[in-house]
């Protein structure tokens, strides 16, 4: 034990000073690197976008798309960009969230909602182009399990009562149209009360899919379009929930009034209405729609 009182103080001072130095140095280096890397990358991206846009006839169109469209939209976008030379920027997420964001000034040009009521609401509020709401698809729901699941989903949603089912993933019925449909189907099938405590809610339908796909939930009620997507097709099997158990999801698209690129937006909307794109949507499990009455 150190008994020399005289030399204790300097030792402890150097100790204290050096205590957090490595952390400080590391933080400094990290910050410097972040600044160095971020600055040029940021300006480069900006220049690219601007010069790209200048070359193209219809510029950049920014799209908000419901999460169930995630995979179908990738294909449509690729086709459209090839056909027209436009650039599309797509955000996918929960329709309810997009509605809130657009109501609060989000810079989208076109909004593909999973629920046609949202585009209609935007029209009523004067935030979307009057009469531009179009029913682009009707969405279906399925019961989905991973390939390694022992559940016999051929028995329908009643199989969720099975004691081996601990968690069932659906989208949040509070704001996700697919969640509402799932809840409705469970209620009509008479299993809702029995399995209510097993429900876990995804923020949108693709998060619900992620919960089942990762194995954290034992089963899920997902969009048919996701079940048919290349990403999920190989990983699991599904059972179509009969349409008399829920109201099929009327999906609407609308042009946003504050759009910076109304021509490009309109061109894209017209493109989605073409038979080829309707067929593509059908391949992803969306039923072909008729025209919406204005």
């Amino acid at each position: 034990m150190n008994s020399g009182g005289g030399n204790v103080e300097p030792i402890h001072k150097t100790l204290a000073v050096s205590l957090f130095r490595p952390a400080l140095v590391a933080t400094g280096i990290a910050l410097a690197l972040a600044v160095l890397l971020a600055a040029p990358a940021g300006t480069m991206a900006y220049h690219n976008l601007a010069s790209e846009a200048a070359q193209k006839p219809c510029g950049v169109v920014t799209i908000a798309a419901a999460a169930d469209l995630m995979y179908a939209m990738n294909e449509i976008v690729a086709n459209f960009e090839k056909a027209t030379g436009c650039i599309l920027r797509v955000s996918t997420g929960s329709s309810g969230n997009f509605l809130s964001q657009i109501e609060n000034g989000a810079p989208f040009d076109v909004f593909f909602s999973a629920d046609i009521e949202y585009p209609r609401k935007l029209e009523t509020e004067g935030l979307a182009v009057t009469g531009s709401t179009y029913l682009y698809a009707v969405g279906k729901i399925v019961l989905w399990v991973r390939n390694d699941s022992r559940l016999d989903i051929g028995r329908g949603v009643a199989v969720l009562r099975d004691s081996s089912v601990h968690k069932v993933a659906i989208a949040n019925p509070q704001h996700a149209p697919y969640g509402r449909a799932a809840e409705q189907a469970l209620q009509k099938a008479g299993v809702y009360d029995a399995i209510k405590a097993r429900l876990v809610l995804g923020e949108n339908i693709s998060q619900a899919a992620e919960f089942v796909e990762s194995g954290n939930a034992d089963a899920g009620i997902l969009a048919l379009s996701l079940a048919l997507s290349p990403e999920l097709k190989e990983k699991g099997r599904f059972w179509r929930i009969p349409e008399d158990l829920y109201t099929p999801i009327q999906q609407g698209v609308v042009l946003i009034r504050a759009s910076q690129n109304p021509q490009g937006a309109r061109a894209f909307l017209e493109y989605v209405k073409t038979p080829a794109m309707a067929a593509l949507l059908e391949r992803y499990g969306f039923v072909l729609p008729g025209k919406v009455k204005p």
Binding site: F20, G96, H166, N172, F211, G215
Partner: protein, 224 residues
């Protein structure tokens, strides 16, 4: 206003602050007094959650500890279920996520104690544990309070991890921040507004009380 969500958040934050008060003290003590040359690595690990986005932690808990991977399988065989969608899961995530907010003020508090007093206590025959409780802790109470309050407050404010692994179960994983998010998405601005305002006032009051009654606590945090 969703009182169930508010109660859940308070319960979660209390558990996290309690666990970190007990578990964070030895870590902070070791960080402060150890002379191990690789100590900075431990410091870096403790500080990680300050830098990492919550999505990284959320991803590891959901997929890494999911039933498809070995760590998740082990967890499942020990505890009977995986971490996501449970209060325990949120607790584990929150403790990890708030660790630096407890350990760093604790450690700063220990560091501020005059080394001569500690050594005098040892010299007079008091054990290390005795010295800790009778000399170090009373003299660094400000750091202990700051760390505990910050970890509590940080847990109340947590959102990203809970959104990723919570599964939004009322009374189990639907915390107040998630509830506000849901209300905004469902365009229930009135409800969202009330809850958000309540949270704003609550946070302000907590911090005011701490900063007002504890000037040293403030200076300790500033020194970081």
């Amino acid at each position: 206003m969703n009182w169930q969500a508010i109660a859940l958040s308070l319960r979660l934050a209390t558990c996290v602050a309690g666990i970190l008060l007990i578990a964070g003290m030895p870590i902070a003590y070791w960080i402060t007094f150890s002379r191990w040359r690789w100590k900075f690595l431990v410091e870096a690990i403790v500080a990680l959650p300050i830098v990492l986005p919550p999505t990284v932690l959320g991803y590891y808990i959901l997929v890494g500890l999911g039933p498809q991977n070995l760590p998740g399988k082990l967890w499942q065989s020990w505890f009977g279920h995986t971490l996501p969608f449970t209060f325990g899961g949120l607790l584990v995530a929150s403790v990890l996520y708030s660790l630096p907010f407890a350990v760093q003020p604790f450690s700063a508090g220990f560091e501020s104690v005059d080394r001569r007093l500690i050594e005098a206590s040892w010299m007079l025959g008091t054990s290390r544990l005795g010295t800790f409780f009778r000399v170090i802790l009373p003299l660094s109470a400000a750091g202990a309070i700051t760390g505990t309050v910050l970890s509590f407050a940080h847990t109340i404010g947590e959102f990203g991890v809970v959104l990723m692994v919570g599964g939004n179960i009322p009374g189990v994983t639907r915390t107040v921040s998630i509830d506000i998010y849901d209300q905004v998405q469902a365009a229930n601005y009135d409800v969202a507004n009330r809850t958000a305002l309540a949270l704003l006032v609550f946070s302000f009051l907590v911090l005011s009380v701490i900063y007002g009654t504890n000037r040293t606590a403030l200076s300790l945090w500033r020194r970081r």
